[in-house]
């Protein structure tokens, strides 16, 4: 690999790199050159995307079949891109680790999808959706990308309706909208509580149609293990057939990663069990910068952990906070009592107490942090797991009195059922218990306006990239971004790259291809040969605990430094003491997990370094050292209004930090206040 693009300390100082009083991450990173060219077009913001589409070169339809595209992941961002590029006539290979493309985790999204249709005539517009998204991201996203997202949002709804996505409708037969996540306009389209499922099935069907047409080949139960780069360009992947264990080489002219987020670095999250960072991390090690990895979204209304056997967490729609009141006992002694026997005066409705104007509807990060604080104080409720009760009550008794059982059933039916199925408790009788859980990551591989990473020919879409949500994501915007990238953005920007084709022919015996394949085999052999004493899961759980404790909702300099030490020694132990049984030549789920957890260790360390560097509280990221006198989040636009893009510098080197300054021309930066 090339030497990282770094600058000396003196140059860094002169360029304003070391402005400000703090450099908490000193010693953990090397300053690099700034990222200047994001390829965002100039001119008025509303014209930039039109201009870019016009300037992006075209590929003659007769040449498209000769150009090959690999797409990793079949969630909204991957399936939509595979379908669209197949329709355009390119030769597409689509990979997923699941047994069918339809199972990707986009399917689990409940709430809805935003679009600036303004069907309610309530003052919505492309500009307002853009504004809300930048503000929601606490001014840490790139404005050109966000504007484009808002702009294409309306096309998504048209496309999905035409595909037969059964969105909720009004009696007149037109589409229904609701207000979501605290915004003041109704712009969210939904299909009951299963919007993600319906959108993904739509994209999956479009994908299967192209399989039938012969433009797309699907590789299910295949996991990307390595990126192939030749002369600095992405030219394919090494994938493992998870059934036969065969390590396969797939070459192409361009590679797209739509491999989702890495929330499972926390072990417990609302992600599917198989969600992992390996595809993105392998690309990172080959030269793709990882941007803002510490930006994690933690969702306040999840079902709490019931014991140390817990394997994942289940989210319940935030809409529950519209009618439920959140409380814990004032006295620790009451924590194991039946909540119905705790009198009103002994309950602490802490959100209503601390935030009288927003009460239970404060933003996700505030609600989450407050819940963790009261539980850490020892006032949590529910079962004690590892010595702490991690849960707070979400009480519907007042709402049941007001709306009646019937009213509540109409509003929240499936959520109450879901809660009862998982916990065995009836929320009509006993208050629900909730606790925050990791839900989404805003960080991801750095991409330019064209969604191209720092490796030419490697494009990244959906949750796997960092581009649109800044430091926090608005509700109902993840689905929007996945489909925007796959249906309407990537197909235009990728053609500009492909217009350089035909590309030089690469064969499987090219030294770079052989090297990639051998490194994968070496890693597999290593995991199988250690024959230590601890299972992969036990390491994963321990790593997750470290991340949750020190790089979760609230981070501090001391905590993060401690976490980095803990992760490094745990990783060493993992490589010496992990126990992976079975062989490489069959379906081997422990072996699959071992590779993923190995990459989570390296990612976890980088997340802590990123969090350590960013000594400010913004979006979902709260730094203990950066708060107002009232204990609220304090952003530092003078020092941190940049994207932190990290370059891998080698196994035994510290990462290199490149900064992309965030400049807003169409919007003014403001501090938020929810008191």
């Amino acid at each position: 690999m090339d030497m990282p693009d770094t600058v000396s300390a003196a140059e860094a100082s002169a360029s304003g790199f070391l402005d400000g009083d703090y450099d908490d991450a000193a010693g953990y990173y090397t300053p690099g050159t700034p990222l200047v060219d994001t390829k965002a077009p100039e001119g008025p913001i509303a014209e930039r995307w039109q201009n870019r589409k016009f300037e992006a070169r075209l590929v003659n339809p007769s040449n498209r079949r000769k150009l090959s595209i690999i797409i990793v992941g079949t969630g909204l961002a991957g399936a939509s891109a595979a379908a669209t590029l197949g329709e355009a006539g390119y030769n597409v290979k689509s990979f997923c680790y699941q047994d069918s493309p339809r199972r990707a985790h986009s399917i689990a999204a409940q709430g809805g999808i935003n679009a600036a249709k303004n069907y309610k005539e309530d003052g919505d517009s492309v500009h307002r959706l853009f504004y809300d998204t930048v503000k929601g991201g606490d001014y840490r996203s790139r404005e050109s990308n966000v504007y484009r997202l808002a702009e294409v949002s309306t096309n998504i709804i048209d496309q999905c309706v035409a595909q037969g996505v059964p969105f909720a409708r009004e009696y007149g037969g037109l589409l229904d909208n609701r207000s979501f996540g605290g915004v003041q306009v109704s712009r969210t389209f939904y299909a009951r509580g299963q919007t993600g499922q319906q959108l993904l099935i739509g994209a999956y069907q479009a994908l299967e149609r192209q399989v039938s047409a012969g433009t797309v080949t699907t590789y299910t139960r295949h996991e990307m293990m390595e990126l192939i780069t030749v002369d600095g360009k992405a030219r394919g992947i090494i994938a493992r057939d998870m059934v036969t264990g065969a390590v396969e080489t797939h070459l192409a002219d361009v590679v797209v990663l739509a491999s989702g987020g890495y929330g499972n670095v926390f072990y417990l999250s609302t992600n599917a069990m198989g969600c992992n960072v390996t595809a993105a991390w392998r690309a990172h090690r080959k030269g793709a910068y990882m941007a803002n990895p510490c930006y994690t979204q933690i969702h306040p209304t999840c079902i709490p952990v019931s014991g140390s056997h817990q394997s994942k967490l289940t989210l319940m729609s935030e809409s529950l906070r519209n009618d439920g009141r959140i409380w814990v006992p004032k006295n620790q002694a009451d924590c194991d009592k039946d909540p119905r026997e705790i009198p009103e005066e002994d309950r602490d409705y802490y959100l209503e107490r601390i935030y009288p104007s927003f009460g239970n509807l404060v933003p996700r990060d505030i609600a989450s942090r407050a819940a963790k604080n009261v539980c850490d104080e020892g006032r949590g409720v529910g079962p004690e797991v590892d010595g702490v009760r991690r849960g707070v009550y979400l009480d519907f008794s007042a709402a049941i009195e007001r709306l009646g059982k019937k009213g509540i059933t109409e509003k929240y039916d499936n959520l109450f059922d879901m809660y009862e199925r998982i916990t065995g408790e009836n929320p009509f009788e006993v208050p629900m218990r909730i606790y925050p859980a990791v839900h989404y990551v805003m960080g991801g591989l750095w991409v330019d306006y064209d969604l191209q990473s720092t490796i030419p020919g490697l494009f990244v879409t959906g949750e796997a990239n960092f581009s649109d949500h800044g430091a926090n994501r608005l509700g109902a915007s993840a689905l929007m971004q996945g489909l925007a990238d796959g249906y309407f953005v990537l197909p235009h920007t990728i053609r500009d790259y492909l217009a350089d084709g035909p590309f030089e022919e690469i064969t499987e015996d090219h030294p770079a291809v052989v090297e990639a394949r051998e490194s994968v085999k070496g890693r597999i052999d290593h995991f199988l040969s250690v024959n230590g004493t601890r299972s992969v899961d036990s390491y994963h759980r321990e790593l997750g605990n470290i991340m949750w404790e020190y790089c979760g909702m609230e981070r501090t300099e001391t905590g993060l430094k401690k976490a980095i030490d803990l992760i490094r020694s745990l990783k060493d132990d993992f490589y010496r003491n992990v126990k992976v049984l079975g062989s490489a030549e069959t379906l081997n789920q422990s072996l699959e997990k071992a590779g993923r957890v190995a990459d989570f260790f390296e990612l976890g360390e980088l997340m802590c370094i990123d969090a350590l560097n960013r000594r400010e509280s913004c979006g979902g990221h709260f730094r203990g050292e950066s708060q107002t006198e009232d204990g609220e989040a304090l952003r530092h636009d003078d020092e941190y209004a940049y994207v932190a893009a990290w370059e891998w510098a080698g196994e035994d080197s510290i990462p290199v930090l490149h900064k992309e300054d965030l400049v807003y021309t169409a919007i003014e930066m403001k501090q938020r206040s929810y008191k």
Partner: protein, 247 residues
């Protein structure tokens, strides 16, 4: 809880399988069924025995990956997916029999993991509406009566888990197929391809080796999303209509 587990173990597609018996103690009633298997696997790993392979992913009842025959019932005793089944549905001291989906069209890959790719191939034969990206008309240009939209939604909830096939004595995938035919057939956007869709999907279904429907209803009883049996009537009606139209 203490349990006796009888689990189908089969090293790969070409080897013969057999039931193996395991004892598991200290099972919490709050565990999900799959978390119970996780605990078993941790113990097997400790002992140096190959863990039991099973499909699973979202663990919230929506991706359709998981699916086990539990005491002879697809997804076990409750109307839900295996991942959403909890151990409180079983009693202390019980013997639980765990098998993979039973169907020739879903060959076993390993232990409890089966190959359901036949479902994807059925969808490839018309389980979609042909609309290229960017060519869609404005979403409000075609109103859809709310009743139709509701029926379409109610059957679009199919998660493609395959429980209907596993439960059916004939190994038929008619409920799975009927759900898709009804979903797209209820909507105005699905009309142009309505005839060819049903004809081609049924042909692929039969080609894959799924059996015919004899109206037993075991499929709908096992369906975690409660897809109603009348989607199969709809399927048959659409097929008759298509044939009458000359397909």
């Amino acid at each position: 809880m203490n349990l006796t587990l009888k689990i189908w173990r089969q090293p790969d597609a070409s080897s013969a399988g057999a039931m193996h018996t395991y004892q598991l103690s200290d099972v919490s009633p709050d565990m999900s069924f799959l978390e119970m298997l996780d605990v078993l696997n941790e113990q097997l790993n400790e002992k140096g025995e190959d863990p039991v392979a099973f499909d699973h992913d979202c663990r919230e009842g929506i991706c359709g990956s998981c699916g086990l025959m539990i005491n002879g019932d697809a997804h076990g005793p409750e109307v839900t997916t295996t991942c959403q089944l909890h151990m409180r549905s079983f009693s202390d001291g019980e013997t639980i029999t765990i098998e993979p989906w039973r169907s020739d069209a879903f060959p076993v890959i390993k232990d409890l993991v089966v190959d359901r790719s036949a479902f994807d191939r059925i969808v490839q034969q018309g389980g979609y509406i042909s609309v290229n990206t960017g060519s869609a008309p404005e979403a409000h240009s075609v109103p859809v009566p709310r009743e139709d939209a509701l029926r379409a939604f109610n059957v679009a909830t199919c998660i493609g888990c395959g429980a209907c096939v596993a439960a059916c004595p004939n190994g038929s995938a008619s409920l799975f197929m009927g759900a898709k035919i009804t979903h797209l057939g209820e909507l105005p956007q699905g009309q142009p391809e309505r005839d060819s869709r049903v004809v081609n999907m049924v042909a692929q279904h039969d080609h894959e080796g799924f059996g015919g429907c004899t109206n037993i209803g075991a499929c709908t009883a096992a369906c975690p999303k409660e897809i109603p049996l009348d989607v199969i009537s709809q399927l048959n009606k659409d097929l008759r209509t298509a044939i009458r139209h000359g397909h």
